[in-house]
Subunit: 250 residues, 2 copies
Protein backbone atom coordinates (compact mmCIF):
# COMPACT_ATOMS: atom_id res chain seq x y z
CA UNK A 1 0.00 0.00 0.00
CA UNK A 2 2.81 2.44 0.86
CA UNK A 3 4.59 1.69 -2.40
CA UNK A 4 1.38 2.00 -4.42
CA UNK A 5 0.45 5.34 -2.79
CA UNK A 6 3.91 6.69 -3.46
CA UNK A 7 4.00 5.68 -7.12
CA UNK A 8 0.37 6.24 -8.21
CA UNK A 9 -2.15 9.07 -8.57
CA UNK A 10 -5.10 6.82 -7.80
CA UNK A 11 -4.80 3.60 -5.79
CA UNK A 12 -7.39 0.89 -6.39
CA UNK A 13 -7.33 -2.01 -3.92
CA UNK A 14 -9.10 -5.30 -4.53
CA UNK A 15 -10.09 -7.55 -1.67
CA UNK A 16 -11.30 -10.83 -3.05
CA UNK A 17 -10.64 -14.25 -1.59
CA UNK A 18 -10.46 -16.07 -4.92
CA UNK A 19 -12.04 -19.53 -4.83
CA UNK A 20 -10.38 -20.73 -8.05
CA UNK A 21 -6.91 -20.56 -6.51
CA UNK A 22 -7.85 -22.84 -3.61
CA UNK A 23 -7.81 -26.62 -3.95
CA UNK A 24 -10.82 -28.69 -2.86
CA UNK A 25 -9.17 -29.61 0.47
CA UNK A 26 -7.74 -26.15 1.14
CA UNK A 27 -8.85 -23.34 3.43
CA UNK A 28 -11.06 -21.18 1.17
CA UNK A 29 -13.94 -21.18 3.66
CA UNK A 30 -11.85 -20.38 6.72
CA UNK A 31 -9.36 -18.01 5.04
CA UNK A 32 -9.17 -14.90 7.24
CA UNK A 33 -11.57 -12.13 6.17
CA UNK A 34 -12.01 -8.91 8.13
CA UNK A 35 -13.47 -6.31 5.79
CA UNK A 36 -14.34 -3.73 8.46
CA UNK A 37 -10.82 -3.73 9.85
CA UNK A 38 -9.33 -3.73 6.34
CA UNK A 39 -11.47 -0.72 5.34
CA UNK A 40 -10.17 1.33 8.27
CA UNK A 41 -6.57 0.35 7.59
CA UNK A 42 -6.93 1.08 3.87
CA UNK A 43 -8.38 4.57 4.44
CA UNK A 44 -5.34 5.48 6.49
CA UNK A 45 -2.98 3.90 3.98
CA UNK A 46 -4.11 5.99 1.01
CA UNK A 47 -6.54 3.70 -0.80
CA UNK A 48 -8.73 5.72 -3.19
CA UNK A 49 -11.03 2.97 -4.46
CA UNK A 50 -11.78 -0.33 -2.76
CA UNK A 51 -13.13 -3.10 -4.99
CA UNK A 52 -14.69 -6.04 -3.10
CA UNK A 53 -16.74 -8.03 -5.58
CA UNK A 54 -18.74 -11.09 -4.61
CA UNK A 55 -17.78 -14.55 -5.87
CA UNK A 56 -20.95 -14.55 -8.01
CA UNK A 57 -20.00 -11.27 -9.65
CA UNK A 58 -16.57 -12.57 -10.56
CA UNK A 59 -17.60 -16.13 -11.43
CA UNK A 60 -21.25 -16.02 -12.50
CA UNK A 61 -23.11 -19.27 -13.22
CA UNK A 62 -21.76 -20.86 -16.40
CA UNK A 63 -18.27 -19.38 -16.03
CA UNK A 64 -15.85 -21.26 -18.37
CA UNK A 65 -12.64 -19.28 -19.07
CA UNK A 66 -9.22 -19.77 -17.49
CA UNK A 67 -5.74 -18.42 -18.13
CA UNK A 68 -2.94 -20.97 -17.94
CA UNK A 69 0.74 -20.14 -17.69
CA UNK A 70 2.55 -23.40 -18.39
CA UNK A 71 5.75 -24.91 -16.96
CA UNK A 72 6.62 -22.37 -14.23
CA UNK A 73 3.26 -23.14 -12.63
CA UNK A 74 4.06 -26.86 -12.18
CA UNK A 75 6.89 -26.29 -9.72
CA UNK A 76 7.09 -25.31 -6.01
CA UNK A 77 3.64 -24.02 -4.99
CA UNK A 78 2.14 -25.29 -8.25
CA UNK A 79 3.42 -28.77 -7.49
CA UNK A 80 2.00 -28.68 -3.96
CA UNK A 81 -1.21 -26.90 -4.99
CA UNK A 82 -2.37 -28.15 -8.43
CA UNK A 83 -4.54 -25.58 -10.22
CA UNK A 84 -3.52 -22.79 -7.83
CA UNK A 85 -1.80 -20.63 -10.45
CA UNK A 86 -4.53 -21.19 -13.01
CA UNK A 87 -6.81 -19.49 -10.46
CA UNK A 88 -4.26 -16.76 -9.80
CA UNK A 89 -3.63 -15.98 -13.49
CA UNK A 90 -7.36 -15.99 -14.23
CA UNK A 91 -8.38 -13.62 -11.42
CA UNK A 92 -5.49 -11.25 -12.15
CA UNK A 93 -6.38 -11.15 -15.87
CA UNK A 94 -9.97 -10.33 -14.90
CA UNK A 95 -8.94 -7.63 -12.40
CA UNK A 96 -6.55 -6.08 -14.95
CA UNK A 97 -9.37 -5.89 -17.52
CA UNK A 98 -11.81 -4.48 -14.97
CA UNK A 99 -9.48 -1.91 -13.38
CA UNK A 100 -6.99 -1.35 -16.24
CA UNK A 101 -4.23 -0.22 -13.89
CA UNK A 102 -1.01 1.34 -15.19
CA UNK A 103 0.85 -0.25 -12.30
CA UNK A 104 0.02 -3.30 -10.19
CA UNK A 105 1.72 -4.21 -6.94
CA UNK A 106 2.43 -7.71 -5.73
CA UNK A 107 4.45 -8.95 -2.78
CA UNK A 108 7.80 -10.71 -2.95
CA UNK A 109 6.49 -13.17 -0.35
CA UNK A 110 4.63 -14.92 -3.16
CA UNK A 111 7.64 -14.95 -5.46
CA UNK A 112 6.29 -17.60 -7.82
CA UNK A 113 3.03 -15.68 -8.11
CA UNK A 114 5.05 -12.62 -9.15
CA UNK A 115 6.85 -14.64 -11.83
CA UNK A 116 3.61 -16.17 -13.12
CA UNK A 117 1.89 -12.78 -13.32
CA UNK A 118 4.88 -11.12 -14.99
CA UNK A 119 4.94 -13.94 -17.53
CA UNK A 120 1.20 -13.67 -18.17
CA UNK A 121 1.46 -9.88 -18.60
CA UNK A 122 4.31 -10.24 -21.05
CA UNK A 123 2.79 -13.17 -22.99
CA UNK A 124 -0.76 -11.78 -23.23
CA UNK A 125 0.43 -8.19 -23.88
CA UNK A 126 -1.26 -6.53 -20.91
CA UNK A 127 -0.03 -2.93 -20.66
CA UNK A 128 0.04 -3.03 -16.84
CA UNK A 129 3.49 -2.83 -15.27
CA UNK A 130 4.14 -5.19 -12.36
CA UNK A 131 5.98 -3.80 -9.34
CA UNK A 132 7.17 -5.99 -6.50
CA UNK A 133 6.98 -4.90 -2.88
CA UNK A 134 9.40 -6.41 -0.36
CA UNK A 135 8.26 -9.00 2.16
CA UNK A 136 7.23 -7.47 5.48
CA UNK A 137 8.24 -9.45 8.58
CA UNK A 138 7.58 -9.37 12.29
CA UNK A 139 10.42 -8.70 14.74
CA UNK A 140 11.67 -12.27 14.58
CA UNK A 141 11.39 -12.47 10.81
CA UNK A 142 8.07 -14.26 10.27
CA UNK A 143 6.76 -13.08 6.90
CA UNK A 144 3.43 -11.28 7.33
CA UNK A 145 0.55 -13.31 5.92
CA UNK A 146 -3.20 -13.52 6.44
CA UNK A 147 -2.69 -17.14 7.43
CA UNK A 148 -0.50 -16.18 10.42
CA UNK A 149 -3.74 -15.52 12.32
CA UNK A 150 -4.31 -19.29 12.30
CA UNK A 151 -1.24 -19.82 14.51
CA UNK A 152 -2.08 -20.68 18.13
CA UNK A 153 0.09 -21.01 21.23
CA UNK A 154 3.50 -22.45 20.50
CA UNK A 155 2.87 -22.53 16.74
CA UNK A 156 3.84 -18.88 16.27
CA UNK A 157 7.23 -19.44 17.89
CA UNK A 158 7.89 -22.45 15.74
CA UNK A 159 6.73 -20.59 12.61
CA UNK A 160 9.85 -18.47 12.94
CA UNK A 161 11.78 -21.50 11.66
CA UNK A 162 10.90 -20.64 8.03
CA UNK A 163 12.91 -17.45 8.07
CA UNK A 164 15.51 -18.98 10.37
CA UNK A 165 16.08 -21.70 7.78
CA UNK A 166 16.21 -19.16 4.95
CA UNK A 167 18.75 -17.08 6.87
CA UNK A 168 20.79 -20.23 7.48
CA UNK A 169 20.79 -20.87 3.73
CA UNK A 170 21.74 -17.31 2.90
CA UNK A 171 24.57 -17.37 5.48
CA UNK A 172 26.04 -20.56 4.03
CA UNK A 173 25.90 -19.09 0.53
CA UNK A 174 27.56 -15.90 1.78
CA UNK A 175 30.29 -18.07 3.31
CA UNK A 176 30.90 -19.54 -0.15
CA UNK A 177 28.89 -22.78 -0.13
CA UNK A 178 28.01 -23.63 -3.73
CA UNK A 179 26.35 -27.02 -3.33
CA UNK A 180 22.60 -26.57 -3.15
CA UNK A 181 22.17 -30.00 -1.46
CA UNK A 182 24.43 -28.92 1.39
CA UNK A 183 22.49 -25.67 1.79
CA UNK A 184 19.10 -27.42 1.66
CA UNK A 185 20.20 -30.06 4.18
CA UNK A 186 21.28 -27.38 6.68
CA UNK A 187 18.00 -25.55 6.19
CA UNK A 188 16.09 -28.77 6.76
CA UNK A 189 17.92 -29.29 10.07
CA UNK A 190 16.75 -25.88 11.26
CA UNK A 191 13.14 -26.75 10.48
CA UNK A 192 13.31 -30.26 11.95
CA UNK A 193 14.23 -28.84 15.36
CA UNK A 194 10.60 -27.72 15.63
CA UNK A 195 8.25 -30.58 16.51
CA UNK A 196 5.14 -28.75 15.18
CA UNK A 197 6.81 -28.06 11.81
CA UNK A 198 6.31 -30.43 8.89
CA UNK A 199 8.35 -29.57 5.83
CA UNK A 200 6.57 -29.48 2.47
CA UNK A 201 9.58 -28.38 0.39
CA UNK A 202 12.89 -26.56 0.50
CA UNK A 203 14.04 -25.54 -2.97
CA UNK A 204 16.98 -23.70 -4.48
CA UNK A 205 16.08 -22.72 -8.03
CA UNK A 206 16.89 -20.18 -10.68
CA UNK A 207 14.65 -17.08 -10.55
CA UNK A 208 13.20 -17.34 -14.09
CA UNK A 209 12.17 -20.91 -14.84
CA UNK A 210 12.21 -22.05 -11.20
CA UNK A 211 14.31 -25.07 -12.09
CA UNK A 212 16.43 -26.65 -9.34
CA UNK A 213 20.06 -25.55 -9.32
CA UNK A 214 22.88 -27.88 -8.32
CA UNK A 215 25.69 -25.36 -8.20
CA UNK A 216 24.68 -22.05 -6.65
CA UNK A 217 25.59 -19.09 -8.84
CA UNK A 218 23.90 -16.09 -10.47
CA UNK A 219 20.35 -15.38 -9.33
CA UNK A 220 19.00 -17.98 -6.94
CA UNK A 221 15.61 -18.26 -5.27
CA UNK A 222 15.47 -20.00 -1.90
CA UNK A 223 11.89 -21.17 -1.28
CA UNK A 224 10.39 -22.97 1.70
CA UNK A 225 6.92 -24.31 2.41
CA UNK A 226 6.26 -25.66 5.89
CA UNK A 227 3.16 -26.75 7.70
CA UNK A 228 3.06 -25.49 11.30
CA UNK A 229 0.34 -27.60 12.89
CA UNK A 230 -2.38 -27.37 10.26
CA UNK A 231 -1.24 -23.96 8.91
CA UNK A 232 0.71 -24.01 5.68
CA UNK A 233 3.20 -21.16 5.40
CA UNK A 234 5.67 -20.15 2.67
CA UNK A 235 8.63 -17.83 2.52
CA UNK A 236 11.49 -17.09 0.15
CA UNK A 237 14.61 -15.07 -0.47
CA UNK A 238 15.99 -14.17 -3.88
CA UNK A 239 19.76 -13.69 -3.96
CA UNK A 240 22.21 -12.45 -6.54
CA UNK A 241 25.32 -14.54 -5.97
CA UNK A 242 28.60 -13.18 -7.28
CA UNK A 243 31.70 -11.82 -5.56
CA UNK A 244 29.22 -10.47 -3.05
CA UNK A 245 25.79 -11.89 -2.23
CA UNK A 246 22.83 -9.56 -2.04
CA UNK A 247 19.06 -9.79 -1.81
CA UNK A 248 17.03 -9.03 -4.93
CA UNK A 249 13.34 -9.01 -5.84
CA UNK A 250 11.79 -11.36 -8.37
CA UNK B 1 -14.68 -4.56 -43.34
CA UNK B 2 -17.78 -2.72 -44.55
CA UNK B 3 -19.48 -3.22 -41.20
CA UNK B 4 -16.37 -2.11 -39.28
CA UNK B 5 -15.94 1.03 -41.42
CA UNK B 6 -19.57 1.95 -40.94
CA UNK B 7 -19.55 1.52 -37.16
CA UNK B 8 -16.06 2.77 -36.23
CA UNK B 9 -14.01 5.97 -36.33
CA UNK B 10 -10.74 4.09 -36.77
CA UNK B 11 -10.52 0.60 -38.26
CA UNK B 12 -7.56 -1.58 -37.27
CA UNK B 13 -7.16 -4.80 -39.26
CA UNK B 14 -4.93 -7.64 -38.15
CA UNK B 15 -3.59 -10.14 -40.64
CA UNK B 16 -1.91 -12.96 -38.77
CA UNK B 17 -2.04 -16.63 -39.66
CA UNK B 18 -1.98 -17.90 -36.09
CA UNK B 19 0.09 -21.07 -35.65
CA UNK B 20 -1.42 -21.98 -32.26
CA UNK B 21 -4.85 -22.56 -33.77
CA UNK B 22 -3.55 -25.12 -36.29
CA UNK B 23 -3.03 -28.76 -35.37
CA UNK B 24 0.28 -30.50 -36.14
CA UNK B 25 -1.17 -32.17 -39.27
CA UNK B 26 -3.09 -29.11 -40.46
CA UNK B 27 -2.37 -26.55 -43.18
CA UNK B 28 -0.55 -23.76 -41.31
CA UNK B 29 2.34 -23.72 -43.81
CA UNK B 30 0.19 -23.73 -46.93
CA UNK B 31 -2.64 -21.53 -45.60
CA UNK B 32 -3.27 -18.87 -48.27
CA UNK B 33 -1.34 -15.64 -47.67
CA UNK B 34 -1.35 -12.72 -50.11
CA UNK B 35 -0.34 -9.60 -48.23
CA UNK B 36 0.17 -7.37 -51.27
CA UNK B 37 -3.28 -8.11 -52.63
CA UNK B 38 -4.81 -7.78 -49.14
CA UNK B 39 -3.17 -4.38 -48.63
CA UNK B 40 -4.71 -3.01 -51.83
CA UNK B 41 -8.14 -4.40 -50.97
CA UNK B 42 -7.92 -3.04 -47.42
CA UNK B 43 -7.02 0.48 -48.54
CA UNK B 44 -10.14 0.58 -50.68
CA UNK B 45 -12.25 -0.92 -47.93
CA UNK B 46 -11.48 1.76 -45.33
CA UNK B 47 -8.76 0.18 -43.22
CA UNK B 48 -6.91 2.84 -41.19
CA UNK B 49 -4.25 0.70 -39.52
CA UNK B 50 -3.00 -2.68 -40.70
CA UNK B 51 -1.28 -4.84 -38.08
CA UNK B 52 0.72 -7.77 -39.50
CA UNK B 53 3.03 -9.00 -36.76
CA UNK B 54 5.47 -11.86 -37.27
CA UNK B 55 5.01 -15.17 -35.48
CA UNK B 56 8.11 -14.37 -33.39
CA UNK B 57 6.67 -11.05 -32.28
CA UNK B 58 3.45 -12.69 -31.14
CA UNK B 59 4.98 -15.88 -29.74
CA UNK B 60 8.57 -15.06 -28.74
CA UNK B 61 10.88 -17.84 -27.55
CA UNK B 62 9.74 -19.09 -24.14
CA UNK B 63 6.07 -18.23 -24.69
CA UNK B 64 3.93 -20.04 -22.07
CA UNK B 65 0.47 -18.49 -21.63
CA UNK B 66 -2.82 -19.74 -23.08
CA UNK B 67 -6.47 -18.83 -22.62
CA UNK B 68 -8.86 -21.77 -22.37
CA UNK B 69 -12.62 -21.55 -22.71
CA UNK B 70 -13.93 -24.89 -21.49
CA UNK B 71 -16.86 -27.07 -22.63
CA UNK B 72 -18.07 -25.15 -25.71
CA UNK B 73 -14.61 -25.66 -27.21
CA UNK B 74 -14.85 -29.47 -27.05
CA UNK B 75 -17.70 -29.72 -29.56
CA UNK B 76 -17.99 -29.36 -33.38
CA UNK B 77 -14.76 -27.76 -34.61
CA UNK B 78 -13.14 -28.27 -31.21
CA UNK B 79 -13.86 -31.98 -31.41
CA UNK B 80 -12.43 -32.23 -34.93
CA UNK B 81 -9.53 -29.86 -34.21
CA UNK B 82 -8.25 -30.36 -30.64
CA UNK B 83 -6.50 -27.25 -29.30
CA UNK B 84 -7.90 -25.05 -32.09
CA UNK B 85 -9.95 -22.79 -29.81
CA UNK B 86 -7.19 -22.52 -27.23
CA UNK B 87 -5.16 -20.92 -30.03
CA UNK B 88 -8.09 -18.74 -31.10
CA UNK B 89 -8.86 -17.49 -27.58
CA UNK B 90 -5.19 -16.83 -26.88
CA UNK B 91 -4.50 -14.80 -30.04
CA UNK B 92 -7.71 -12.81 -29.65
CA UNK B 93 -6.91 -11.99 -26.00
CA UNK B 94 -3.47 -10.80 -27.12
CA UNK B 95 -4.85 -8.72 -30.00
CA UNK B 96 -7.47 -7.16 -27.71
CA UNK B 97 -4.75 -6.16 -25.24
CA UNK B 98 -2.50 -4.81 -28.00
CA UNK B 99 -5.17 -2.91 -29.95
CA UNK B 100 -7.76 -2.28 -27.19
CA UNK B 101 -10.62 -1.96 -29.64
CA UNK B 102 -14.06 -0.70 -28.57
CA UNK B 103 -15.63 -3.01 -31.16
CA UNK B 104 -14.32 -6.17 -32.77
CA UNK B 105 -15.83 -7.83 -35.82
CA UNK B 106 -15.99 -11.55 -36.45
CA UNK B 107 -17.77 -13.53 -39.15
CA UNK B 108 -20.82 -15.72 -38.68
CA UNK B 109 -19.12 -18.33 -40.88
CA UNK B 110 -17.07 -19.32 -37.84
CA UNK B 111 -20.07 -19.43 -35.52
CA UNK B 112 -18.38 -21.45 -32.80
CA UNK B 113 -15.43 -19.04 -32.84
CA UNK B 114 -17.90 -16.20 -32.29
CA UNK B 115 -19.41 -18.01 -29.30
CA UNK B 116 -16.00 -18.82 -27.82
CA UNK B 117 -14.80 -15.23 -28.16
CA UNK B 118 -18.02 -13.79 -26.75
CA UNK B 119 -17.69 -16.15 -23.78
CA UNK B 120 -14.05 -15.22 -23.24
CA UNK B 121 -14.87 -11.51 -23.41
CA UNK B 122 -17.67 -11.89 -20.89
CA UNK B 123 -15.75 -14.22 -18.55
CA UNK B 124 -12.45 -12.29 -18.57
CA UNK B 125 -14.16 -8.86 -18.47
CA UNK B 126 -12.71 -7.46 -21.68
CA UNK B 127 -14.46 -4.17 -22.48
CA UNK B 128 -14.46 -4.88 -26.23
CA UNK B 129 -17.89 -5.43 -27.79
CA UNK B 130 -18.14 -8.29 -30.28
CA UNK B 131 -20.13 -7.69 -33.46
CA UNK B 132 -20.93 -10.45 -35.91
CA UNK B 133 -20.87 -9.93 -39.67
CA UNK B 134 -23.00 -12.17 -41.89
CA UNK B 135 -21.45 -14.92 -43.98
CA UNK B 136 -20.61 -13.79 -47.49
CA UNK B 137 -21.27 -16.34 -50.25
CA UNK B 138 -20.59 -16.75 -53.95
CA UNK B 139 -23.48 -16.88 -56.45
CA UNK B 140 -24.16 -20.54 -55.71
CA UNK B 141 -23.92 -20.11 -51.95
CA UNK B 142 -20.38 -21.28 -51.17
CA UNK B 143 -19.31 -19.41 -48.02
CA UNK B 144 -16.27 -17.23 -48.78
CA UNK B 145 -13.14 -18.56 -47.09
CA UNK B 146 -9.41 -18.29 -47.62
CA UNK B 147 -9.34 -22.06 -48.04
CA UNK B 148 -11.63 -21.90 -51.12
CA UNK B 149 -8.50 -21.07 -53.14
CA UNK B 150 -7.36 -24.68 -52.52
CA UNK B 151 -10.29 -25.99 -54.58
CA UNK B 152 -9.28 -27.25 -58.03
CA UNK B 153 -11.33 -28.39 -61.04
CA UNK B 154 -14.51 -30.19 -60.05
CA UNK B 155 -13.92 -29.59 -56.34
CA UNK B 156 -15.43 -26.09 -56.42
CA UNK B 157 -18.67 -27.40 -57.91
CA UNK B 158 -18.90 -30.12 -55.31
CA UNK B 159 -18.08 -27.62 -52.52
CA UNK B 160 -21.47 -26.08 -53.15
CA UNK B 161 -22.93 -29.11 -51.38
CA UNK B 162 -22.26 -27.59 -47.96
CA UNK B 163 -24.72 -24.76 -48.44
CA UNK B 164 -27.03 -27.01 -50.45
CA UNK B 165 -27.22 -29.35 -47.47
CA UNK B 166 -27.77 -26.44 -45.07
CA UNK B 167 -30.57 -25.09 -47.27
CA UNK B 168 -32.10 -28.56 -47.36
CA UNK B 169 -32.05 -28.60 -43.56
CA UNK B 170 -33.55 -25.13 -43.29
CA UNK B 171 -36.31 -26.02 -45.80
CA UNK B 172 -37.29 -29.13 -43.85
CA UNK B 173 -37.43 -27.13 -40.62
CA UNK B 174 -39.53 -24.46 -42.34
CA UNK B 175 -41.88 -27.23 -43.48
CA UNK B 176 -42.32 -28.22 -39.84
CA UNK B 177 -39.85 -31.08 -39.39
CA UNK B 178 -38.92 -31.21 -35.71
CA UNK B 179 -36.76 -34.34 -35.57
CA UNK B 180 -33.10 -33.38 -35.86
CA UNK B 181 -32.16 -36.91 -37.00
CA UNK B 182 -34.50 -36.64 -39.96
CA UNK B 183 -33.06 -33.24 -40.89
CA UNK B 184 -29.45 -34.43 -40.51
CA UNK B 185 -30.12 -37.56 -42.58
CA UNK B 186 -31.54 -35.50 -45.44
CA UNK B 187 -28.58 -33.14 -45.27
CA UNK B 188 -26.20 -36.09 -45.35
CA UNK B 189 -27.88 -37.40 -48.52
CA UNK B 190 -27.21 -34.07 -50.25
CA UNK B 191 -23.53 -34.26 -49.35
CA UNK B 192 -23.16 -37.93 -50.29
CA UNK B 193 -24.24 -37.23 -53.87
CA UNK B 194 -20.82 -35.64 -54.33
CA UNK B 195 -18.03 -38.21 -54.79
CA UNK B 196 -15.26 -35.75 -53.80
CA UNK B 197 -17.07 -34.81 -50.56
CA UNK B 198 -16.26 -36.60 -47.31
CA UNK B 199 -18.43 -35.60 -44.40
CA UNK B 200 -16.74 -34.71 -41.11
CA UNK B 201 -19.91 -33.76 -39.19
CA UNK B 202 -23.45 -32.49 -39.56
CA UNK B 203 -24.77 -31.10 -36.28
CA UNK B 204 -27.98 -29.53 -35.04
CA UNK B 205 -27.28 -27.88 -31.71
CA UNK B 206 -28.51 -25.10 -29.47
CA UNK B 207 -26.74 -21.77 -30.09
CA UNK B 208 -25.32 -21.25 -26.57
CA UNK B 209 -23.79 -24.48 -25.29
CA UNK B 210 -23.61 -26.16 -28.70
CA UNK B 211 -25.25 -29.27 -27.33
CA UNK B 212 -27.06 -31.56 -29.78
CA UNK B 213 -30.82 -31.04 -29.94
CA UNK B 214 -33.25 -33.90 -30.54
CA UNK B 215 -36.42 -31.87 -31.05
CA UNK B 216 -35.89 -28.73 -33.10
CA UNK B 217 -37.25 -25.61 -31.39
CA UNK B 218 -36.05 -22.20 -30.26
CA UNK B 219 -32.62 -21.14 -31.52
CA UNK B 220 -30.86 -23.85 -33.50
CA UNK B 221 -27.45 -23.89 -35.12
CA UNK B 222 -27.00 -26.10 -38.19
CA UNK B 223 -23.28 -26.80 -38.66
CA UNK B 224 -21.49 -28.80 -41.33
CA UNK B 225 -17.86 -29.70 -41.87
CA UNK B 226 -16.96 -31.46 -45.10
CA UNK B 227 -13.68 -32.36 -46.75
CA UNK B 228 -13.74 -31.67 -50.50
CA UNK B 229 -10.74 -33.56 -51.78
CA UNK B 230 -8.09 -32.52 -49.23
CA UNK B 231 -9.73 -29.16 -48.42
CA UNK B 232 -11.70 -29.00 -45.19
CA UNK B 233 -14.62 -26.54 -45.35
CA UNK B 234 -17.22 -25.50 -42.78
CA UNK B 235 -20.50 -23.65 -42.97
CA UNK B 236 -23.47 -22.98 -40.71
CA UNK B 237 -26.85 -21.37 -40.38
CA UNK B 238 -28.41 -20.18 -37.13
CA UNK B 239 -32.22 -20.24 -37.09
CA UNK B 240 -34.87 -18.99 -34.72
CA UNK B 241 -37.61 -21.59 -34.93
CA UNK B 242 -41.08 -20.57 -33.82
CA UNK B 243 -44.33 -19.95 -35.68
CA UNK B 244 -42.05 -18.65 -38.42
CA UNK B 245 -38.43 -19.64 -39.03
CA UNK B 246 -35.84 -16.96 -39.63
CA UNK B 247 -32.09 -16.67 -39.84
CA UNK B 248 -30.24 -15.13 -36.88
CA UNK B 249 -26.59 -14.44 -36.04
CA UNK B 250 -24.76 -16.10 -33.17
Amino acid sequence: MKMASKKSDVVVVSIFVNPTQFGPTEDFRTYPRNLERDKKLLQKAGCDILFCPSVKQIYPAGYLTYVNVEQITDKLEGNSRPGHFRGVATIVAKLFNLVQPDLAFFGQKDAQQVLVIKKMVSDLNFFTKILVAPTLRDQKGLALSSRNSYLKGDEKHQAWCLYEAIQKGRDLIQLGEEDSRVVAASMQEVIQKNPLAKMDYIALTDTRKLEPVDKIKGDVLISVAVRIGSTRLIDNLALRVGKTVYEIKC
